[in-house]
């Protein structure tokens, strides 16, 4: 099936075409580029919400509770759930669906599991592309659940409009909360498992950390909310906060600025992929071997290859 047909079918609500399209973008290569190009005009409509946090914090359960809340408001929800690929075998067990059973049988929900396939930032290479397919298919909210993340996995902040950082009580002292990384990317904090001892303390520590930040009047102040995702407690307030955050991005023009940055990254990535594909011939492999033997250096070699591709 050609890309135009596939896009037409997934836009018409054909779920099998949507599933197949996600496989195509996940596989990559020229066919993926063609499909992404065909779908591009129909993207940009979805509110993309990232959910990140340490393993076991309850991300899958929270994603389910939030999806149910959005569904109760008549909003359709796509979900991309990323789990790690084994660095040893290349295989993966993707288990996020286990906790998403409550969403089964609802045509307004589409769930796709993704293996990280060697990427270390908490997402897979093709996560944003899979989101684009769900977006083109008309899902109004797309939730991305990252790999269980600690302190450095911040790719989600670029892939999503709104990033929810999920914490649980008892994860460490208050110095943890002023370290760099995941805590800096939160647009909304969720203290999950808030029925457990120490939840109040975790909330207080996060709020105290936020007060240390140098915030200008009118800047978004990340709310610290509590949840018990297993009973859907707190999901309405979280959905409200995420919705307010999107409105804030639009009103302040930040949404446009982010779109520009995203466009630049997408263009750069596409150029890079295309250039590498063109350059990977015999000369490439010869150069790789010579660089490995220290007969050549990578910098001069890159220039040589590039000048061959773009003479003058």
């Amino acid at each position: 099936m050609n890309s135009q047909d596939l896009v037409a079918r997934l836009r018409a609500g054909d779920r099998r075409s949507l599933a197949r399209a996600i496989t195509v973008v996940e596989t990559g290569g020229p066919q993926a580029r063609e499909l992404l190009a065909a779908a591009y005009p129909y993207t940009g409509g979805a509110h993309v919400v990232g959910v990140t946090g340490p393993p076991g914090a309850g991300k899958s359960t929270l994603v389910t509770a939030l999806a149910l809340e959005w569904r109760s408001r008549g909003v359709s929800v796509g979900i991309v759930a990323v789990d790690p690929t084994s660095p040893f075998t290349g295989g993966a067990v993707l288990g996020d669906r286990i906790r998403m059973q409550a969403l089964g049988g609802d045509p307004g929900v589409f769930i796709r599991s993704m293996a990280s396939r060697g990427r270390l930032g908490g997402l897979a290479r093709a996560t944003a592309d899979a989101v684009a397919m769900l977006d083109a298919a008309g899902f109004q909210v797309v939730l991305i659940e990252t790999v269980g993340a600690g302190q450095g996995e911040v790719d989600i902040a670029r892939a999503a409009h709104t990033t929810l950082v999920v914490e649980v009580p008892g994860m460490g002292d208050d110095v943890q909360s002023i370290k760099a990384g995941v805590l800096e990317i939160a647009d909304v904090f969720v203290v999950n498992k808030a029925d457990r001892e120490g939840a109040d303390k975790t909330v207080r520590q996060l709020r105290a950390m936020l007060h240390l930040a140098d915030r200008q009047p009118g800047d978004w102040e990340p709310p610290v909310l509590t949840a018990v995702a297993t009973t859907s407690t707190g999901s309405a307030a979280i959905v409200d906060a995420a919705t307010r955050h999107l409105a804030y991005l639009r009103e302040t023009g930040l949404a446009d600025a982010r779109a520009r940055h995203a466009a630049e990254r997408e263009l750069a990535a596409a150029v890079q992929e295309l250039a590498l594909e063109r350059l990977r011939g015999q000369a490439w492999h010869d150069l790789v071997a010579r660089i490995a033997r220290r007969e050549r250096d990578p910098y001069g070699s890159a220039e040589e290859l590039f000048n061959a591709l773009f003479p003058g």
């Binding site: 599933a19 596989t27 084994s86 290349g90 295989g91 067990v93 993707l94 669906r97 089964g104 599991s113």
Partner: protein, 135 residues
């Protein structure tokens, strides 16, 4: 360019024993496949819906309850209705040879693996029978 074998491992019906399913999930992962594990007590509808969304090449059904002659044909019938008969369906569990023969001959189950089947045999069967260039 990667095109990994994607497998849905599911437990149809009501029995609560998923050790076998987990052993298989782990073995397939170690063979480099991407395994989507859906957990216990799945209806045939839930299994086919998940297989569709995940665009899997293989469905592995683990069943110990004795309801295999009802539930397994239901899964393959729903797959046919969704025009997903290109998905390879294998089963494992306590299934008699006589039942296995019927499931294979009449109900689109590609293979049945009983107790004592080696994970290597299961991996090899899947690798041999999935057409990775399934377009």
């Amino acid at each position: 360019m990667e095109r990994k074998i994607r497998v849905l491992v599911a437990k149809p019906g009501l029995d609560g024993h998923d050790r076998g399913a987990k052993v298989i999930a782990r073995a397939l992962r170690d063979a480099g496949m991407e395994v989507i594990y859906t957990g216990l007590q799945q209806t045939p509808q839930m299994i086919v819906e998940a297989a569709l969304q995940e665009d899997v090449d293989v469905i592995g059904l683990s069943i110990l309850s004795g309801a295999h002659m009802t539930l397994l044909p239901k899964v393959t019938q729903l797959l046919k209705e969704q025009q997903m008969d290109d998905v390879l369906v294998v089963a494992g569990g306590i299934i008699s040879d006589a039942d296995a023969a019927i499931l294979k001959a009449q109900h689109g189950i590609a293979e049945v693996f009983g107790p004592g089947a080696s994970t290597q045999d299961i991996i090899k069967f899947i690798q041999d029978h999935v057409s990775v260039s399934r377009e």
